[in-house]
Structure formats: structure tokens, C-alpha cells
Amino acid sequence: MARPIRILVAKAGLDGHDRGAKVIARAMRDAGFEVIYTGLHQTPEQVVEAAIQEDVDGIGLSVLSGAHMTLFPRIKELLVKDGAADIVLFGGGTIPGEDVKPLLAAGVAGVFTPGTPMATIVDFVRRECGKRVGA
């Protein structure tokens, strides 16, 4: 039997809006994934270090400060640099529709804008990160 999917829920940057991150973390836990939450105000370096240390299959990044165009690409860059490019990077927050395409082009596997059902995100994680656990 495949092991459970492991996900790091991360809050990078300076904003303290953790409602969405916590709701998604609970939804993923209820879906049977192992969920680790970084807590607030992490640097991209801290997020990537935690992801590698915890050997996660995916990073779910929540950004509501408007800094998404800086933080997502930086985390992706660090993952590649540290030889962990196979960790699936996805996330959401107050991200305007027009920023979604550039983020996907920068290697973010999924971008979820406000109002996305929890089930959509859980399905995405099961599909994308499931490949990594060999489910």
C-alpha cells in the first residue's frame, strides 16, 4: 500500500492571514494526507528547507499580501537549486486572474484563487502528489 501523501502548508512573507492556510490544512488532513504547517512569516529559504527536511510531496503556499509574484518564483528557484524540483509547488490567496498564467509558467503546478472549493484543491493534490508516492 502506498504511504500517505505528505504536504507542507506554508505561509511566506509578512502577512498574517492564516485563515485560508488553516482551512486547507484541515481539509487535506481530513482527506487522509499528512499535513505539516510552517506557521507564519517564513522566508522562502525556510519554506524550502522545511520541505526537504520533512520529505514532503508538495508545498501549498498561501499568500495574501500581494507578494505572490516574488514569493512563488523564489521558492520554485530554491527547490530547483536544492535538487528538489520534483516537490509539487501549488498555492493560493488573493491572486488576480491575470497573474495565474505567469505563475504557472514559472513552474507553479496549481494556483487557486478565492472561492475555490476545498475539494478541488484536495483532488489536485491527490492527482499531482499521488504520482510521487506511487499511488
Partner: protein, 571 residues
């Protein structure tokens, strides 16, 4: 018209569940109504609970007023316990202050927005700072990368503050500043800016949020742990009561607690519990409650469940009055009165069919007015995705003006007073809050409850429940889980150019280059030394600002003394 037999009716209303079983031969009056009500089908989607999960009856009646004594529990506007309003005249003599929260980009850009808002009939200013300023970092700090000017205006230096208020007479306008852990620095910069305009500090009026307890509970912007943060706040209260007497030193905020996902009663209870904690801290610091309690103000959310919100504001006034008079023995009626600002619920706005947010905002704002707010911010339709454009802010401001001048809502004081439903909900809210006060007391008070993660868990539980109600379709959000429109909405959003960050970093560097380096360093070492004693820190904050130390430098100077807060995060 033929009367259908009950059995046929049941098969015709497939998917409907009847409200209950019909009783035998009911008498006219309550019994007949109940029989008819229970025999009728229930509309799918009709909620038996408020948005906050508070149980509802389908109708309220005279029995719901039992136990309410008019003189004791409601009384007249301007009279204890102020359930019906804090002023005898309310909006009959003066409307609420229309105060739109604004800030983005550089101080100069925001200054232009302020001039626009004032020219459009806005009657007070409200500063939104960017994340680095809120967290104690200068714009050129590595941790500020990508955040400068995004969520609010970038303020690192006294020069930034002076540019923010260029051409605005600080002796004539009231200014609200939404800032917490760096609040004493913002206040010092504001005072120094007023000095440079020749305005005496005694005539300054405005509000500082400076509510650190709700930061640990909900908004999560901090530098130092709760205990030193409380000391800084009591220092500000003591300083302002002497030197800036018209300044509201704390805006005790439920807004962020609600945005983080709390229920209405949690917002009410946690906010007032924080308020009591500040009163206790002030008294413990040796002040008389009547020296500072009149300058405490509140800030609540206006969410979508209309009547529940109105009841919340009414209950808040009554609870505060009772506790301040009975428990804290305040003598000055101004200490008993709960004055509050309201903002419509950002978390209720939807990215889908964003124009619908105009309607949501209007109903929420009407609730705040019917609840007797002293000032109001109406969210713009685009705030779910970005800071608002000028055109959208104008619609939001016009929404308030329409309520004020067209709806008639401001003509009669507390127009819903006496409503069976609203009075019952008001009493329920008060009882619910009192139960929370007991639980908080059992945990040892607000700060021990924060360390135990109590508030954080209560809020997370409530927000998860709410989200599941939406996903299951139990609760309908128009445009999100029903009445969905396929094509993506295209609304024009305000863009904060990357150039803002570069320009701001250059401004901060220029400011540092222009100063007497030794004087700045001296002021910084003096505030750190004072922090080791119980000397009031506020004069030291002013000395640092006058010596051109920056917001980031002043914040950092106290870290070796106070330490840095780390939250034990719980999911």
C-alpha cells in the same frame, strides 16, 4: 380554487421537508400559527441558524422580551447601559464619520488619494500601512522584498510621514492609523509631523489601533511577546492622557478576529475581553480607570447576517457599560460608553461576479448604521483581489452617502429597538459573551489563553465549519456555490509597480545619508536602556524619530531587551 389534501401536497413538494407535524384543532393565535407553520413545507436553503451558527426561531414574539426591563437593559439613547446608542441624539445631530481606509505605494501616491477622498466629502482619514511597516521592517530590509507599498503605504521614515500628510492640516482633520506593534513609532512620527506643521499636540485628534492582543489572537502581526507589548501600550495610554488628550489610544478590534473566521459572538466576546485586559493593565500600571477608559475605542466587523450584526453592536455597548461601571468602578460616563468604528466584511466579498460586492457592502453598512456606529469604512468591490481603484472607492463612499441621505435610516434613533427578534438576539449575544468571559477567566485571562492557543483554535474551528457549510451547499454564496456564471469577470485592478519598491528604498537610503548618524545611534541606545527600566518609553520613541532613526531601526533596538515573539502554530 380547490383545496388540496395534505397527502397530495406532500408528493407535490418533493425535496421539501415539512416544518413539523400539524397539531389537532388549533385555536386562533400562537397555536394556530404554529400548526400552520409546522404543516407547511420548508423552503430548501432556509437556515435555522445564523451565519454564526446561532440557533434561530422562525418567528419571535412578546415572550422573547420576557426578562428584559426597559430602564435597566435598554434605557434611552445616551443613558446607561447605552444599548440604544451612546448619544442622546445619535444621527439626528451628526452623522457617522465616513472614513475610508486607504494607503498604497509611496507616501506621495497615498497623499494624492487622501486629497481626492477629502474633495469627495470624506470626513476623516484612515491610514493603511504596508506589511513591512506593520511588522517593524524598513522598506529596504531583505524581508520586505516584494511587499513594499503592496498592502498599504510604505512608511519607514519621518520624511515619509511628512509627505503622507503634505497639504493636510493635522489640526483640523482626524486621522485613524491601523498599526499595532509599530504603533508608538507611527504616533511619534505623527506628532513630529504635526510639530513641523506648527500644530500643537493638544489639538491632534485621531485613533491608533495599537491593539496587540488581537494580533496574537487573529491578525498575527507582531515583534515582541505579549507581555512587553502590553507595557508599550500602557506607556502610550499614560503619555496620551497627558499630552495628546484628544487621541484615542487604542482601537480594540474585533474586525480581524471576524475576518480570521470567528462567529459574531466570538468577535464580540474576544474583543471585549481584550478591552477588559487593557483596562486591567492600565489600572495595574497605576492609572485611574477614568483617566484612560474614555479614550478607548472599538472597531467591529459588519458581516452579512443583518440582524445578528445589529444585535452584536447593541450588546457590545451594554456589556462594556456594565463591566466598566460595575466591575471596574469607573465613575465617568464616558468610560462606560463604547464608541466604535465599523468596516464591512472583507471576507464576505467574492472574486466571482465582483460587482455583487457593492450590494453586500451596502447591506452590511446599513446594519452598522442601524447598530449605531460612530464611523464607517465601506469596502470597495475590488478589495477581494487588490487595493481599490479610485473609481471603486468612490462607489463605496457613495454607498454610505446614499444610506445617510436617501434611505431614512438615520432619521430615527435605534429604529430596531423593541423588535422582538433584535432584542432577543441582543440578549443572546450578551449571554454568549459572558460565557466566553468565564472560560477565558478559567484559563487565567487573555494572555494565558493566547499562549494556550484557545482563541486561535476557537476561530479555526468556526472558520472550518463555515467553509464546510459552503462546500455542502448548506449555505449559499451567490456567484460562488450557486448562481454561478461561467465566464471570468474582468475588473480593472490597481497595480503597484515594482518601481515603487526601488524608489522607496532609495528614499530611505537618502534619508539615512542626510542625518547625524551619532545622534540617531544615541537615541536608539537610550530607548533600549529605558526599556530595561519601567520608565515611559513614549518620550524615547519621540526622541528617536526626531533624531531621524527609522521605523525598522527603532523596532530592532528593543528586540535584545524584549525578545521576538514566536507563535506555536496549531492547525
Amino acid at each position: 380554487m380547490t383545496k388540496k389534501p395534505v397527502s397530495e401536497k406532500k408528493t407535490k413538494t418533493d425535496g421539501h421537508t415539512p416544518n413539523g407535524k400539524a397539531g389537532a384543532s388549533p385555536q386562533p393565535g400562537e397555536a394556530l400559527w404554529r400548526a400552520q407553520f409546522e404543516a407547511a413545507p420548508k423552503r430548501p436553503g432556509a437556515n435555522d441558524r445564523t451565519i454564526s451558527d446561532h440557533p434561530l426561531k422562525p418567528m419571535y414574539g412578546p415572550e422573547d422580551l420576557a426578562g428584559i426591563d426597559y430602564e435597566r437593559d435598554l434605557s434611552y439613547p445616551g443613558q446607561y447601559p447605552y444599548t440604544r446608542g451612546i448619544h442622546p441624539t445619535m444621527y439626528r445631530s451628526r452623522l457617522w464619520t465616513m472614513r475610508q481606509f486607504a494607503g498604497f505605494g509611496t507616501a506621495k501616491q497615498t497623499n494624492e488619494r487622501y486629497h481626492f477622498l477629502l474633495s469627495q466629502g470624506q470626513t476623516g482619514l484612515s491610514v493603511a500601512f504596508d506589511m513591512p511597516a506593520l511588522m517593524g521592517y524598513d522598506s529596504d530590509h531583505p524581508r520586505a522584498l516584494g511587499e513594499v507599498g503592496k498592502c498599504g503605504v510604505a512608511i519607514s521614515t519621518l520624511q515619509d510621514m511628512q509627505d503622507l500628510f503634505a497639504g493636510i492640516d493635522l489640526g483640523r482633520i482626524s486621522t485613524s492609523m491601523t498599526i499595532n506593534c509599530t504603533a508608538p513609532i507611527a504616533l511619534a512620527m505623527y506628532i513630529a509631523t504635526a510639530e513641523s506643521q506648527g500644530v500643537p499636540t493638544e489639538s491632534l485628534s485621531g485613533t491608533l489601533q495599537a491593539d496587540m492582543l488581537k494580533e496574537y489572537i487573529a491578525q498575527k502581526e507582531w515583534i515582541y511577546p505579549p507581555e512587553p507589548s502590553m507595557r508599550i501600550i500602557t506607556d502610550m495610554m499614560a503619555y496620551c492622557s497627558k499630552h495628546v488628550p484628544k487621541w484615542n489610544t487604542i482601537s480594540i478590534s474585533g474586525y480581524h478576529i471576524r475576518e480570521a473566521g470567528s462567529t459574531a459572538v466570538q468577535e464580540l466576546a474576544f474583543t471585549l475581553a481584550d478591552g477588559f485586559a487593557y483596562v486591567e493593565a492600565g489600572i495595574a500600571a497605576g492609572m485611574d480607570v477614568d483617566d484612560f477608559a474614555p479614550r478607548l475605542s472599538f472597531f467591529f466587523n459588519a458581516h452579512s447576517d443583518f440582524f445578528e450584526e445589529i444585535a452584536k453592536y447593541r450588546a457590545a455597548r451594554r456589556i462594556w457599560a456594565r463591566h466598566l461601571r460595575e466591575r471596574f468602578k469607573a465613575k465617568n460616563p464616558r468610560s462606560w460608553t463604547l464608541r466604535f468604528h465599523t468596516q464591512t466584511a472583507g471576507c464576505s466579498a467574492t472574486a466571482q461576479q465582483a460587482e455583487n460586492n457593492i450590494m453586500r457592502t451596502a447591506y452590511q453598512a446599513l446594519g452598522a448604521v442601524l447598530g449605531g456606529t460612530q464611523s464607517l469604512h465601506t469596502n470597495s468591490l475590488d478589495e477581494v483581489l487588490a487595493l481599490p481603484t479610485e473609481a471603486n472607492v468612490q462607489i463605496a463612499l457613495r454607498t454610505q452617502q446614499i444610506i445617510a441621505y436617501e434611505t431614512g435610516a438615520a432619521n430615527v434613533i435605534d429604529p430596531l429597538g423593541g423588535s422582538y427578534y433584535v432584542e432577543k438576539l441582543t440578549s443572546d449575544m450578551e449571554e454568549g459573551a459572558e460565557r466566553y468571559f468565564e472560560r477565558i477567566a478559567e484559563l487565567g485571562g487573555v494572555i494565558p489563553a493566547i499562549h494556550a492557543g484557545f482563541f486561535q483554535k476557537e476561530i479555526a474551528d468556526a472558520s472550518y465549519r463555515y467553509q464546510r457549510e459552503i462546500e455542502s451547499g448548506e449555505r449559499i454564496i451567490v456567484g460562488v456555490n450557486d448562481f454561478v456564471q461561467e465566464e471570468a469577470e474582468q475588473i480593472a485592478l490597481l497595480k503597484i509597480d515594482r518601481a515603487v519598491e526601488l524608489e522607496q528604498c532609495r528614499r530611505v537610503a537618502d534619508f539615512r545619508a542626510s542625518r547625524d548618524e551619532a545622534a540617531a545611534a544615541r537615541a536608539l541606545s537610550q530607548i533600549a536602556a529605558a526599556a530595561e527600566t519601567d520608565e515611559n518609553l513614549m518620550p524615547h520613541y519621540l526622541a528617536c524619530v526626531r533624531a531621524k532613526a527609522t521605523l525598522g531601526e527603532i523596532s530592532e533596538a528593543l528586540v535584545p531587551v524584549f525578545g521576538r515573539y514566536r507563535e506555536a502554530a496549531v492547525i
